[in-house]
């Protein structure tokens, strides 16, 4: 938390102003009971009406002044705390945007979202409290004690007894309550988890009739949460009345011992009344402080989570002096490349060597988990290789700038991602200044025009978040169009044809041919029919190249490929 507060620097002047304003406000609050004591002890006892009215007017002024300060302080502290939230959020988001996939993976999408949204809100809320209470409460308690002592020193021992009692009760409660508070969040997370799982797997759950089982799981988590909440509430049920009791008994004690002092002529009635007010102020401020100390650990959890993100070092960085690639347009070369995902003991790909030139279509085929996606990820430098080199246009991808490298690539990822917004906007994502003509052309090639024109507003049709209102095949075709509109040197289609029917697949490949004639194309596919007319087929098996060549070459030389073909094509097609 303290680390994060460094980001408050632009608000230093504000914070000074807040502290001063609150200082004045506390003083005015503290002054009122003293004035009242005067009003009683001097005004009423002497029956001096003009004095009473004068002091009364003065009290009004003080009260108004204090309120003004408080309002100003609130204004400034709102700006500061919310501004603080803004800064933290901004830092977090730009940090995460700079993450490579590797850093992104180590956190995971869900928690990064929570950290950027919920955790920041949490921090912001606590900073509001800190900004106001952290100043007021201690000031008020200390000032209250001083003023109370000014009224009467010997009554103060009542406070000396009460305050430790108050603190030990709070201490015991916190001791018992804090673990439960922490558990609370865990149980809530658990409930979320159970529900999230049953939402993600809803189709499976329904298909296999596991609804009751899921219900039971949910119920367990739910009951667990309830029991914990009840435990906390039971503790609080003791705490609150006990607090009130202590405050009230303090007043009673003050009345009794104050009466004794008045009887011995050591104290005046107005002083006693003022003293009682100060005592209440002091105890309330202490309670406020305690509340603050309950809130801070909760916010601390959020702060730690935010810091983890902010302090993550970037492992993929641009070199100081990026090399500019030579003339060759779109030559991709792998030289003995091996790569392993962080934490994995087996490499995902091993000793990969090949060279792809413009005008060539390189197909990558292999069983699931064989490393196809991993291989193309390395071209775009989503990860850095462990061994070997990946060259694009003659330059090691680690020696050029990421922006420049990726500007050469049109990427259609295996998991199709569309953003909410118009279809045209989604295609335009590939090339910011694409004209409507270009977009329409890309859609044509991707065989998307037909279904787009059937939609209500055509290219202006709005896509829901994640593209849930489109079919899988429709989404894939938009994803392909997005890559096409970019007119890059290198195309990467990761399993982009998987959801297309045979006819569309063929039509698309035919339309694609002239479009990508001068580019280097990588096409990952599961089906042999999609890859059979490629210039080069790379057969991956368990991260290694099991064979490389054209369809006919591989049929003769590569056992793995033959098996693959045999499992997919009928005998006569084999011929």
């Amino acid at each position: 938390m303290v680390k994060l507060f460094r980001l408050l620097k632009p608000y230093t002047a504000y914070i000074f102003a807040i502290v001063s304003l609150l200082f004045i406000q506390v003083i005015s609050d503290l002054y009122l009971p003293t004035l009242m004591a005067d009003l009683v002890d001097i005004g009423i006892v002497n029956k001096d009406i003009s004095y009473i009215i004068r002091i009364g007017g003065f009290m009004l002024l003080i009260a108004a002044g204090g309120t003004l300060c408080a309002i100003l302080a609130t204004y400034l502290s709102s700006k500061t705390a919310v501004g603080f939230g803004k800064i933290v959020r901004e830092k977090l988001f730009s940090k995460v945007e700079s993450f490579s996939l590797r850093e992104f993976d180590t956190f995971g999408t869900a928690t990064l979202i929570t950290r950027t949204t919920n955790d920041v809100t949490q921090i912001q809320q606590v900073s509001v409290l800190i900004l106001t209470m952290m100043v007021t409460a201690p000031l008020m308690s200390i000032g209250g004690i001083v003023m109370a002592l000014r009224q009467d020193v010997s009554l103060a021992w009542v406070l000396v007894v009460v305050i430790p009692i108050l603190f030990s009760i709070i201490g015991i409660t916190l001791f018992k309550g804090l673990p439960l508070f922490k558990l609370m969040q865990e149980k809530l997370d658990k409930l979320n988890l159970v529900l999230r799982e049953s939402l993600t797997g809803i189709r499976v759950i329904r298909a296999f009739n596991r609804i009751d089982k899921e219900k039971e799981r949910f119920d367990d988590a739910n009951a667990d949460l309830m029991n914990n909440a009840i435990k906390i509430n039971l503790i609080m049920a003791v705490l609150m009345p006990v607090m009130m009791l202590i405050m009230n008994l303090t007043t009673v004690a003050l009345v009794w011992f104050g009466a004794l002092r008045i009887d011995s002529g050591d104290m005046q009635i107005g002083s006693l009344m003022a003293f009682i007010q100060y005592a209440t102020q002091i105890l309330f401020s202490l309670l406020m402080l305690v509340m603050l100390f309950i809130m801070i650990p909760r916010a601390e959890v959020s702060a730690v989570r935010i810091n983890e993100v902010l302090e993550t070092g970037l492992d993929i960085k641009d070199p100081e002096t990026p090399k500019i690639a030579d003339q060759k347009r779109g030559v991709v070369e792998f030289q003995d490349v091996s790569f392993r995902y962080p934490g994995a003991d087996q490499p995902a790909i091993t000793n990969i060597t090949f060279r792809a030139k413009p005008g060539e279509l390189t197909a990558i085929i292999g069983g699931t988990g064989s490393g196809k996606t991993t291989l193309v990820n390395l071209i775009a430098r989503f990860y850095d290789v462990e061994k070997g080199r990946v060259l694009v246009d003659g330059v090691d991808v680690r020696e050029t700038s990421q922006k420049e490298l990726r500007a050469k690539i049109g990427f259609a990822p295996q998991k199709t991602v569309l953003f909410s917004g118009a279809i045209a906007e989604n295609i335009r994502y590939g090339k910011q200044d694409a004209t409507l003509e270009e977009i329409k052309h890309a859609a044509d090639v991707a065989q998307a025009t037909e279904f787009i024109s059937e939609l209500e507003e055509g290219f202006e049709h709005t896509i829901a978040q994640g593209g849930t209102n489109l079919s899988g095949g429709q989404k894939q075709r938009l994803s392909i169009a997005r890559a096409l509109v970019r007119k890059p040197e290198i195309y990467i289609f990761d399993d982009s044809f998987s959801a297309l029917d045979f006819k569309t697949d063929a039509k698309l490949r035919a339309a694609l041919r002239p479009e990508i004639a001068e580019a280097t194309v990588f096409l990952i596919a599961q089906s042999v029919s999609t890859v059979r007319d490629a210039d080069r087929i790379i057969v991956l098996d368990d991260g290694q190249i099991a064979g490389m060549g054209t369809h006919t070459e591989l049929l003769n030389t590569c056992e793995v490929y033959r098996e693959l073909v045999a499992s997919q094509l009928s005998e006569e097609e084999l011929g």
């Binding site: 979202i113 809530l188 219900k215 009840i230 009466a259």
Partner: protein, 327 residues
């Protein structure tokens, strides 16, 4: 979309427990107020099985409050007695008579009564909270359970048209809001009503005139509260809307991180984010400010009343009209 999601993130952490403070529920927009009445009755229905417990809670909250109002009244009697004794002493000193002692038998009695009173009040308060702890949580438990069962029967289409986050936040965050409200606001409401009635009765018994003064300041309270509440609702709604927009953007950009990277669009993504973040800031600090000034303003109003009572009471007291206990 942001409309749908706007209810989502205002309660990041609330573990359904205390800590929200009395102001917790104030100023927040009434979430999903479309059919407030219907929702309210439905909620009442959920509470039905625990009717008797609720009645007990009401009863005990009422009793606890009555006792805690009686406290100051009796305390006032004691202070008046001390004041009288004090006055008599001064008088005696002035006239050179032997100084009388305070009436400690009387004061002692009052102190004992007070101690008893406060103990009973605390006990009642405890019983009330003890029961309420279970009632609120069990209601929420049932509510969650039924939502989950309902989800199991909804058509798949429902799930396709919503993000998981949205559904999740319904079941956890939003229901949590209800639990906090149940636990805090309901008891607060009872306490506030009983207190209001009690205090007015009490004041009337002390001095009808001063009561009138206090009651005259009540509309001021109301005006302050209502006008602030109105404004804050607007600002909070604006804040929730920007927050929803921001969450949406974050969710989308993170989910599509690979794509953002592949197409080198980090810059645009950040620019959009900053734009929304700025909007959120503007609405957010205003909302924060408005809800923040409620306390100082309330204190001002009560200070005004306090000063007026001091002055008027003081003037009366010099004429021996009313005892000091009004303070």
């Amino acid at each position: 979309m942001s409309e749908e999601r706007s209810t989502k993130k205002d309660k990041g952490f609330s573990g359904g427990g205390p800590g929200g403070g009395p102001m917790g529920a104030f100023g927040k927009p009434v979430v999903k107020a479309k059919d407030f009445k219907g929702t309210f009755y439905r909620l009442l229905n959920y509470l039905k099985p625990q009717r008797t417990k609720f009645l007990i809670v009401f009863l005990f909250a009422g009793l606890s409050t009555i006792f805690s109002i009686l406290g100051p009244k009796i305390m006032g009697k004691g202070i008046t007695k001390i004041g009288e004794g004090f006055g008599a002493k001064m008088m005696a000193v002035q006239m050179g008579k032997p100084v009388p002692s305070l009436d400690f038998a009387y004061i002692g009695n009052i102190v004992l009564i007070l101690i008893g009173l406060y103990l009973i009040s605390a006990a009642f308060g405890y019983v009330q909270q003890y029961i309420m702890a279970g009632v609120a949580q069990k209601t929420v438990y049932k509510l969650r359970k039924e939502v989950d069962e309902k989800l199991a029967n909804l058509p798949l289409k429902f799930f396709d048209s919503r993000t998981h986050g949205e559904i999740l936040s319904r079941v956890t965050n939003d229901i949590d809001n209800i639990s906090t409200t149940l636990q805090q606001s309901l008891t607060q409401l009872i306490t506030a009503i009983v207190t209001l009635i009690g205090v007015i009765v009490m004041m009337l018994s002390i001095s009808p005139l001063l009561t009138l003064i206090v009651i005259l300041t009540l509309p001021l309270y109301m005006i302050v509260t209502i006008s602030i509440a109105k404004r804050s609702q607007k600002q909070f709604a604006a804040q929730q809307k920007s927050l929803g927009e921001l969450n949406g953007h974050v969710e989308e950009m993170y989910a599509g991180h690979k794509l953002v990277k592949a197409y080198g669009r980090e810059g645009e993504s950040i620019a959009t984010f900053n734009l929304i973040n700025e909007k959120l800031y503007t609405a957010g600090y205003k909302a924060q400010f408005i809800s923040g000034i409620i306390m100082p303003l309330m204190r001002l109003v009560s200070n005004l009343g306090y000063v007026i009572i001091c002055v008027v009471g003081g003037v009366f007291a010099t004429r021996g009209l009313i005892p000091l206990e009004i303070f």
